[in-house]
């Protein structure tokens, strides 16, 4: 610490109240976008009406997985890919818990892909924030389910032969109630999206396009984080309420950002309680005509 700082203790950073300041600086590289997404998340939490005791943050494994370790709330750093089922248990046993899952694209949508689609289908009341940096940063930059076709990683040295997922389209197709995508430079809109997602009942999903200069940028000739941040931003086009299937991430054409889904749907617990109160009519609601007249000829 410089002599000047020692002489006059400066004011605390406004986000220090939500940070485990004894663990800062964090492990993320210089220019990593996870810190920006984390700041946005903390800003959304600061504005949120839910009591702090009732907010939990769950992460999986990877660079973004470390996020849970820096937030001064009940925070859980789980196994690779399993943040969503862990969060499901945490929420179902304590429904007043606002459970936020923050993890990377590889964690949530490769190894954890099955849990992602089923939690969205059940509409478990979770807020899922996916920091998408197009590769596995923690292990040194390998192919991820988001790596663009042709991009270089350490396991696709000649360029990726894989077609990447469109996470927003996937989330929407599985029944998510809120789906948005922003780049790390759309900070204020990102913070608004996280706030909206947290206030949304059901499975809400926010994808953050974030620079990974160390592992991804370096191998794709965009070494400076500033350039990578700007590159994503400049290729982006805002198209709110576009059909999620058309909200593509296409670096040669358009990287679509915006809010794509914002709907109402009963949550898992809503339906669980309704069913167990015995309020459900027999399935199928229209009844079954088992008589010969009701039989349709096959073929």
């Amino acid at each position: 610490m410089s002599a000047q700082a020692q002489a006059a203790p400066q004011a605390a950073h406004p986000q220090d109240e939500l940070l485990r300041t004894d663990r800062i600086p964090h492990i993320w590289c210089s220019g990593c976008g996870i810190g920006i997404a984390f700041g946005s998340l903390m800003a959304a939490i600061a504005k949120c009406d839910t009591p702090r005791d009732d907010i939990s943050v769950v992460s999986g494994i990877g660079c973004t997985g470390r996020l849970a370790g820096y937030i001064h709330l009940d925070s859980f750093h789980t196994t690779h890919g399993r943040a969503i089922p862990f969060a499901t248990g945490l929420h179902l046993t304590r429904p007043q818990n606002k459970v936020i899952v923050a993890s990377g694209d590889g964690d949530l949508l490769a190894i954890g892909g099955n849990h992602f689609i089923h939690a969205a289908r059940r509409n478990v009341d979770l807020t899922v924030i996916c920091v998408n940096n197009f590769n596995y940063g923690m292990t040194g930059g390998q192919l991820a389910p988001s790596t663009p076709f042709g991009a270089k990683t350490t396991t696709t040295p000649m360029g990726s032969p894989d077609e990447p997922f469109n996470f927003c389209a996937l989330a929407a197709a599985c029944g998510a109630t809120y789906v948005a995508r922003w780049t790390a430079l759309h900070i204020r809109r990102l913070t608004t999206a996280i706030s909206e997602a947290m206030n949304k009942k059901g499975f809400s999903f926010v994808e953050v396009i974030a620079p990974c200069p160390t592992a991804f940028g370096r191998r794709n000739k965009i070494r400076r984080s500033l350039d990578l941040l700007r590159f994503y931003y400049e290729r982006s086009v805002v198209k709110n309420h576009l059909a999620p299937g058309e909200a593509t991430i296409d670096f040669d054409n358009k990287l679509v950002v915006g809010k794509f889904v914002d709907i109402e749907r009963p949550t898992y617990l809503d339906q669980y309680d309704m069913v167990n109160r015995g309020e459900l009519e027999a399935w199928p609601a229209t009844g079954v005509d088992a008589s010969a007249a009701g039989q349709r000829k096959a073929g």
């Binding site: 610490m1 410089s2 700082a5 400066q10 004011a11 950073h13 406004p14 986000q15 220090d16 940070l19 800062i24 600086p25 964090h26 993320w28 590289c29 210089s30 220019g31 990593c32 976008g33 996870i34 810190g35 920006i36 984390f38 700041g39 946005s40 800003a43 430079l185 900070i187 204020r188 913070t191 984080s225 500033l226 941040l229």
Partner: protein
């Protein structure tokens, strides 16, 4: 502030003034804050912090309008601005 045509109510608009604080030891020198400060308040330091990074210094404090953009774009929670009385 410069305008191509002075707005009629320019006298009524209150421009906030900010004071930027840098938590030097947290900085990892990504330059996001310097690049995206629309007022040119910040510049890279010549010296290093303990981790070996250059960090931003406030070179034009009077220009800060307390927009907080340096604060929200910083991935390290190393810079923030506070409103100052004018």
């Amino acid at each position: 502030m410069k305008f191509w045509r002075e707005p009629l109510d320019v006298g009524d608009i209150k421009v906030t003034k900010g004071k930027v604080t840098v938590v030097e030891e947290r900085c990892k020198g990504c330059e996001f804050c310097i690049s995206y400060c629309s007022r040119g308040v910040l510049a890279m330091s010549q010296t290093f912090n303990r981790k070996g990074y250059h960090f931003p210094e406030v070179v034009a404090p009077k220009l800060c309008v307390n927009c907080h953009f340096c604060e929200v774009i910083c991935p390290e929670f190393a810079i923030f601005s506070q409103e100052e009385d004018q």
